[in-house]
Symmetry: C2
Subunit: 216 residues, 2 copies
Amino acid sequence: MQQGFLLILSGPSGAGKNTVLDAVRRRCPDVVYSISATTRPRRPMEEEGRNYFFLTREEFERRITAGEFLEWAEFCGNYYGTPIGFICESLARGEVVVMDIDIQGARQVRDKMPEAILVFLLPPTMAELEKRLRGRSSDSDAAIKRRLETALDELKAGIEYDYVVCNDKVERAAAKLEAIITAERCRVRRSEYFQVVKDIVGEQGVMRQDDESAAH
Amino acid sequence: MQQGFLLILSGPSGAGKNTVLDAVRRRCPDVVYSISATTRPRRPMEEEGRNYFFLTREEFERRITAGEFLEWAEFCGNYYGTPIGFICESLARGEVVVMDIDIQGARQVRDKMPEAILVFLLPPTMAELEKRLRGRSSDSDAAIKRRLETALDELKAGIEYDYVVCNDKVERAAAKLEAIITAERCRVRRSEYFQVVKDIVGEQGVMRQDDESAAH
């Protein structure tokens, strides 16, 4: 069976991760999406089990202690985390799992799963990024400035990633992500072909006599 | 400027490299194709400079001595080689260069250009491979048997490659190759973004004070 993999999408706040992921979801119906757990209150348009799993602080902390998160963090007094069970079960079935996560989270995941594919989504320009951030009229100037500074720091972190996709047009960015998923599915080391040939040739790529004769 | 790269396509004889490459050519008009030089006689449908550069033995040997081949080999008394000039000029312009080459040649190229992307094209099954090889009615049974044995050896070599694409349907295989090209174009280390950020952050990913102040 072909091996699955975990694809992590990060990017500065305002790069447009959610819009691009919605387009990827339409293009790649066979890819599964990791859903985070959080203790922050549910917003009006959000659905339990679709946007987040909404947990109480007590339940979240119980799961931290039980080792049920691939990564977790606390922001502004709320917990956010990635349930590990769903990801491991999906990978074991050979599926591609996509998750949207910030840079600190991505580093935690990469340390635990070095085979994960890291994709960094870039806003077209910093001016565009500022416009997008300012677009949320609900936020104060100080909040916007803080978010821009964080975004600049995050831009630098992107060089630790495997791929970079510029979100100049949503469908173009989604098409690039789809291509990355297709290409990573063709990786020799994850292929059935690799498993079969390795059994014949052996780990070192050297023909072993016992395998030679066993093949007849 | 985004950096170009060299993509090498290999596969057992009969995997259908030429048919797939023709389809890739239609899908990716902005990719350039390396053309080999050879001393073998031109066949009726072949064109100078499109299928091959046809050279005399004397001229080919002069170019070997002058170091003008990325790789070269002698098969059945004829020389075959990849002119290095065209590839280096194309890469310097940031272009993607695709070349179709056998496994020995691919190894030579990878040793000289470790950044090259290696794609291995698989026939759907060995039975299909045999059918395709037998399909060339001009060849003797002994020639077919020899080619099948070579193909089996080549199948094992594929595990040294980066990607494996199964040629179950020509257009599907071409679409996967197109996706690999698109994905490799998104590699962080080849991106303009990477160059810009590296200038700010420094090679080690550590912010340098002089770059910090120079940026203001």
